[in-house]
C-alpha cells in the first residue's frame, strides 16, 4: 500500500493486482476482483479434473466392449465428470468469476455489499472442493450426478454421503454469492444508474441470483434427506422402507432444472454485452432481453418434471409440464433473435470474443431446439435417457455455457489483467473448439435417436462408428481448451498493454483503468446516458471520464 493517495501519471498506477503482493493479502482479500480471480483459478483446476473424467469416458467408449476393465470404473468416471462439472465448474463459472469481478464495476460501486461474505463463499467453495476431491481419491462415487434413489441410498457402496455433504456446502457458497449480488444490485448502484440503465449482464446476474437463493436450499434439503436415509435408515425415498423414489426425483429436479438456467443465464448476459460491443449497436429490444431473463428464471421453476415423463408420473402432469417447458422456450428464442437483430445496421467486427459468442449462438440454438424436441411428450418417450439427451445438454452446457464463458473471459481479459492476448491464436482456438465440439456431440444425437442408452460401459457394435467419431472430436476439443490456457498465460507476461478500453465499449467497467484500481473508480461516476449508447460515441463525442 502506498501512502500517497494520488498516483502521478508517469508512475505505474496502483491496481488491484499490484497494491499488495503477499499470499496472505490474497487469501484474506475482501476485494471482489481478487475473489473473482481466486474463483477463476479454483474452477479452472476443477474443470481440468472433471475433463479427465470425460476423457476416460470417451476413451472407454472407443470399443463396443468398453476399454476400462471394470464397468464400475466407467460408472465412477462419468459420475465424477458430471458432479464436478455441474457443481464445481458450471454453477460457479460465470457468476463467481466474471460476476464477482464485474458486477460492482458495472453498477459503479466500489465493492459488493458484503465483501466478507464474498470471501466466505470462496472458502466454502474450497472446503467443498477438498471434500469432493477426497471422494474422487478415496473410493469414488458411482451414482451419476443425479443421485437417483433407491440406488444412491440403499445400493451404492461408494462415497455417496461425503459427496452429498460436499454438494451441501458448495450450495451455501452459491447462496451467499446470489445474496450478495441481489443486495448489491438493489443498494449499490451509482447515481443515475437506474434499473433500465443496468447492463444486461447485471440483469442476467440478478435473475441467476434469484435462482441461487430460491432453488439451492431445496437441493440442500433433498440431499440432507438422502444423507439421513443412508445414515439412519429412515424411510424417505426407499420403497423397501416405505419411501417414494419418485419423490426424490421431484425434489432433485426442482433444484436441478433451475440450475440449468443458473448455468446458461449468465452466458446470455455475456452474449448481450459482447454482441452490442462488436456490433456497436444498442441491443435490439433491451427490455425484452432483460425481462426474458426474469421470465426464464421464474418459469424455469415450473418445468422440473419434464425430466420425469417416463418415471411413472401421470399423463396429465406430463401434459402440464410439457406445456410449461414449451413456454420457457419462448423467452429463450426471443434472446437469440434479439442478438441476431442487433447486428442489423451495426458495425460488426469479428474479434475473438465475438467469434466465441457467435459460436455460442449457433450451438445454443441447436441445444435449445433439441430441448424443444425433448419437451415434446411423444418424442421424449423414445429419446429419454439416450445419447440424444446427452448431446442436447452438452450443446446447452458446453456449446452454450462454456463457449459463452470463454467469450466473456476473452472479452474482459484486457480489463482483468491489463494485457492483450494474441488475436490470431484466439480466433484459431475459437474455431477449433467450434469444430471439435460439433464433431464430439453431433454424432451423439444420431446414436441417441438410434437408441443408444446413457451411462453404458459397453454397447452393441452398431453404435461404434458414432462413438469413435465422438472420441475423435473430443480430442480436438481438448486441444481447443488447452490453447487459451497457453496464450492467455503468455499474455500476462508478454502481452501488449490493453489500455482502459481496447474494444471501445460503453460499459462503466471500461471507463476505469485496466486493471482497475483497488477501489474500482477514482470517483464514483454519475450516469447520464442510456446503456449501450454506441451511437453517442461517434466523433466528435468523447468517451466519458
Amino acid at each position: 500500500m502506498t501512502a500517497i493517495p494520488l498516483t502521478p501519471d508517469y508512475a505505474a498506477p496502483e491496481t488491484y493486482l499490484n497494491s499488495s503482493h503477499s499470499i496472505r493479502s490474497w487469501l484474506l482479500t475482501r476485494d471482489h476482483k481478487r475473489i473473482g480471480i481466486l474463483y477463476m483459478i479454483s474452477i479452472t483446476f476443477m474443470f481440468l479434473i472433471a475433463a479427465c473424467g470425460a476423457g476416460l469416458v470417451r476413451i472407454n467408449l472407443l470399443t463396443p466392449s468398453g476399454i476400462l476393465p471394470e464397468p464400475s470404473m466407467y460408472n465412477k468416471a462419468f459420475s465424477v465428470h458430471g458432479i464436478l462439472m455441474v457443481w464445481w465448474f458450471l454453477v460457479p463459472s460465470v457468476p463467481a468469476t466474471l460476476g464477482n469481478f464485474l458486477l460492482p464495476l458495472m453498477i459503479g460501486a466500489r465493492d459488493l455489499a458484503f465483501p466478507r461474505l464474498n470471501l466466505a463463499s470462496w472458502y466454502l467453495f474450497i472446503i467443498s472442493a477438498i471434500m469432493i476431491l477426497g471422494v474422487v481419491t478415496f473410493g469414488g462415487i458411482d451414482t451419476g450426478w443425479t443421485f437417483y434413489t433407491p440406488y444412491s441410498d440403499a445400493f451404492a457402496n461408494t462415497r455417496v454421503t461425503l459427496a452429498v455433504a460436499a454438494i451441501f456446502i458448495n450450495g451455501f457458497s452459491s447462496i451467499l454469492t446470489g445474496l450478495n449480488f441481489i443486495v448489491s444490485t438493489h443498494t449499490m448502484r451509482a447515481p443515475g444508474m437506474t434499473w433500465f440503465r443496468l447492463p444486461l449482464f447485471v440483469w442476467a446476474m440478478y435473475a441467476t441470483s434469484l435462482i441461487f437463493v430460491l432453488a439451492t436450499p431445496v437441493l440442500a434439503i433433498t440431499l440432507t434427506l438422502l444423507g439421513i436415509e443412508r445414515l439412519l435408515g429412515i424411510g424417505i425415498f426407499n420403497p423397501a422402507l416405505g419411501g417414494d423414489p419418485v419423490l426424490f426425483q421431484h425434489l432433485f429436479w426442482f433444484y436441478s432444472h433451475p440450475v440449468v438456467y443458473i448455468q446458461i443465464l449468465p452466458t446470455f448476459g455475456i452474449a448481450s454485452e459482447v454482441v452490442t460491443c462488436f456490433a456497436r449497436k444498442r441491443p435490439f429490444g433491451y427490455s425484452m432481453i432483460a425481462f426474458s431473463s426474469l421470465a426464464i428464471a421464474m418459469i424455469g421453476f415450473l418445468v422440473w418434471a419434464h425430466h420425469m415423463f417416463d418415471a411413472g408420473i401421470s399423463p396429465y402432469s406430463g401434459l402440464v409440464f410439457s406445456l410449461l417447458s414449451f413456454a420457457v422456450a419462448v423467452p429463450t428464442a426471443i434472446k437469440i433473435f434479439s442478438w441476431t437483430a442487433t447486428l442489423y445496421k451495426g458495425s460488426v467486427a469479428l474479434e475473438t470474443p465475438m467469434l466465441y459468442i457467435l459460436g455460442f449462438m449457433g450451438l445454443f440454438t441447436m441445444g435449445g431446439l433439441t430441448g424443444v424436441m425433448l419437451a415434446t411428450l411423444g418424442l421424449d418417450m423414445h429419446m429419454h435417457d439416450t445419447y440424444f439427451v446427452v448431446a442436447h445438454f452438452h450443446y446447452v452446457m458446453v456449446g452454450g455455457a462454456v463457449m459463452g464463458y470463454l467469450g466473456g473471459i476473452h472479452y474482459w481479459w484486457p480489463k482483468m489483467t491489463g494485457k492483450l492476448y494474441s488475436e490470431f491464436w484466439g480466433k484459431i482456438s475459437a474455431a477449433i473448439i467450434f469444430i471439435g465440439f460439433n464433431l464430439t456431440f453431433f454424432p451423439q444425437y444420431i446414436a441417441g435417436y438410434l437408441g443408444m442408452p446413457r451411462r453404458y460401459h459397453s454397447y452393441p457394435p452398431e453404435f461404434q462408428v458414432y462413438n469413435v467419431l465422438s472420441t475423435a472430436g473430443a480430442s480436438i476439443l481438448a486441444v481447443g481448451y488447452i490453447l487459451p490456457l497457453i496464450y492467455l498465460f503468455w499474455s500476462l507476461k508478454f502481452g501488449p498493454e490493453a489500455g482502459r478500453n481496447p474494444w471501445k465499449a460503453t460499459g462503466l467497467e471500461w471507463q476505469t483503468s485496466s486493471p482497475p484500481p483497488p477501489e474500482n473508480f477514482e470517483e464514483i461516476p454519475t450516469i447520464t446516458r442510456p446503456p449501450y449508447a454506441y451511437d453517442m460515441m461517434a466523433p466528435p463525442a468523447v468517451p466519458a471520464v
Binding site: 468398453g66 464397468p71 460408472n75 458411482d142 443425479t146 433407491p150 440406488y151 440403499a154 445400493f155 420403497p239 423397501a240 416405505g242 417414494d244 423414489p245 419418485v246 456497436r280 435490439f284 417416463d310 399423463p315 406430463g318 401434459l319 410439457s322 414449451f326 422456450a329 419462448v330 428464442a333 441476431t340 437483430a341 447486428l343 442489423y344 445496421k345 451495426g346 458495425s347 460488426v348 431446439l369 424443444v372 424436441m373 419437451a375 415434446t376 411428450l377 411423444g378 421424449d380 418417450m381 423414445h382 429419454h384 435417457d385 439416450t386 438410434l450 437408441g451 442408452p453 446413457r454 451411462r455 453404458y456 460401459h457 459397453s458 457394435p461 452398431e462 451511437d535 460515441m537 461517434a538
Partner: protein, 358 residues
C-alpha cells in the same frame, strides 16, 4: 438383431411411425430455424462488417412488429408441437382393453418375464406380431427402465409400484431391449432382445418352452397356502369382481381397484381400508416375492373384473356388499385341481406353512 450401419432406427410398431413423423416435423422446423439464425448472422456480419475502427453507426429505433413476430411465431409453432406430442404420448400411455398382459420384473441386472400361459424367460421377450401387448412391470431393487428403440417406447420400472407400457408390433424380427435408467455396476449388461414372431410361431414357441403354471394358478395356490382364503369373503372383503371396480374406503374416498391398488393392499393393507371392515390384515411385505404378488393379482383378476362384468352382481360402482350377503367368497377351486375345495377354518393369523416364506 440388425448389426449393420444405421443412421435411423427400424420401425417395428404402429407407434414408431407416429413418433418418427413427429420427429421429422420437428427436425425440419429446427433445421429451418438453425439455417435462419446462421444465415442471418453470417449475412449481417458480412454486410455490416466494420470498415473503419472509429465507425459508430447511428441508433436504430426498436421495431415492435419485428419483436412481436419473433415472439408469436415460435410460440405458435411450439403449440403445434405440444398438442401433437401430447396426443402421441397419451395414446401410447393407454393400453387397449384387449391387450395381452405380460409381467416383467427388473432386478440388478436382468429382466424376468412371465407370459400369461405360464412360461418364463430372462432377458428375452417373445411376442406375437399384430397383437397389442401390455407389460405390467415392477422392480425388485432400484429403478430400471424398459426401453425398446425399434418400438419407440420406454418406461421406468420402479420398485414398490407398477408401471405399464404397451405396444403392437408390426414387423417380425429381433430388436434391442435396453435398461435405460442407470441401475449400478452392470447397467450396460442389463440388455436383451425382443423377438417378434408370427402368431403361429409364437404358439409353437410357447408349446416348446418349459411348462410352468400360469400366474393365476400359482396365485390360487398362494391364496390358499398363505391363508388368505380364511378371511376374504367373510371378515375381509370378497375378491370376486373386485378387479377394476370402484372401492369405497372407510375414510369416504373411492379408489379404482387396479393392479397398483391390489399390490398395495397386499404389501401395506392398512393404507386403504375398505368401508365396513377393520384393519385386521397383516402386511405381507417381506413374505412374498414380486413374482408371487403378480401371481396373487392374476388370481384375483381371474375371479372376474368389474370391467368385463364377468361376475354377476359385481357392480362397477357403489359400496361393496358385506360378504355374508354374497354367495361368492373369491375362492376358485377349479384353479386348484389337486386341492380339496373345502375352506380352511377362519383364522387369519395362522402360521404360514413351512418353506413358503421367501
Amino acid at each position: 438383431m440388425e448389426q449393420q450401419f444405421h443412421i435411423f432406427p427400424v420401425r417395428a410398431t404402429t407407434h414408431a411411425w407416429q413418433v418418427d413423423l413427429l420427429f421429422f416435423f420437428e427436425l425440419t422446423v429446427s433445421a429451418l430455424f438453425v439455417a435462419l439464425i446462421a444465415g442471418l448472422v453470417i449475412y449481417l456480419s458480412l454486410k455490416y462488417r466494420r470498415k473503419s475502427p472509429d465507425e459508430f453507426p447511428p441508433y436504430t429505433p426498436p421495431n415492435g412488429m419485428v419483436e412481436a413476430t419473433y415472439t408469436i411465431v415460435p410460440f405458435l409453432i411450439m403449440m403445434v408441437m405440444f398438442f401433437w406430442g401430447g396426443a402421441v404420448y397419451v395414446r401410447a400411455r393407454r393400453p387397449p382393453a384387449n391387450a395381452m398382459q405380460i409381467n416383467v420384473i427388473g432386478k440388478q441386472w436382468m429382466w424376468k418375464i412371465q407370459h400369461p400361459e405360464g412360461p418364463r424367460e430372462i432377458n428375452t421377450l417373445h411376442v406375437p406380431v399384430g397383437r397389442p401387448i401390455k407389460l405390467l412391470m415392477t422392480s425388485q431393487d432400484v429403478i430400471h427402465d424398459f426401453g425398446i428403440p425399434a418400438f419407440r417406447i420406454k418406461q421406468d420400472v420402479l420398485p414398490g409400484t407398477y408401471s405399464t407400457e404397451w405396444f403392437e408390433a408390426t414387423r417380425v424380427g429381433e430388436y434391442h431391449l435396453f435398461c435405460d435408467q442407470y441401475c449400478g455396476d452392470l447397467h450396460s449388461q442389463m440388455i436383451g432382445r425382443v423377438v417378434v414372431m408370427e402368431p403361429s410361431a409364437y404358439q409353437a414357441w410357447l408349446a416348446g418352452t418349459v411348462p410352468d403354471a400360469p400366474p393365476a394358478v400359482s396365485g390360487a395356490r398362494l391364496f390358499q397356502s398363505y391363508g388368505c382364503v380364511a378371511c376374504h369373503g367373510q371378515r375381509a372383503p370378497t375378491l370376486a369382481g373386485l378387479y377394476m371396480s370402484q372401492v369405497r374406503l372407510d375414510d369416504g374416498r373411492t379408489v379404482l381397484a387396479d393392479e397398483q391398488y391390489l399390490r398395495e393392499s397386499i404389501i401395506e393393507p392398512a393404507a386403504k381400508i375398505v368401508a365396513g371392515y377393520g384393519p385386521i390384515m397383516p402386511s405381507f411385505r417381506a413374505q412374498l416375492t414380486e413374482e408371487q404378488i403378480f401371481d396373487l393379482i392374476e388370481y384375483i383378476k381371474s375371479l372376474g373384473s368389474a370391467r368385463d362384468n364377468s361376475v354377476p352382481g359385481a357392480s362397477a360402482a357403489g359400496p361393496q356388499t358385506r360378504p355374508s350377503e354374497r354367495p361368492v367368497n373369491g375362492y376358485r377351486p377349479d384353479l386348484l385341481p389337486d386341492q380339496p375345495p373345502a375352506r380352511q377354518p377362519p383364522a387369519y393369523n395362522q402360521n404360514l406353512p413351512e418353506g413358503s416364506v421367501q
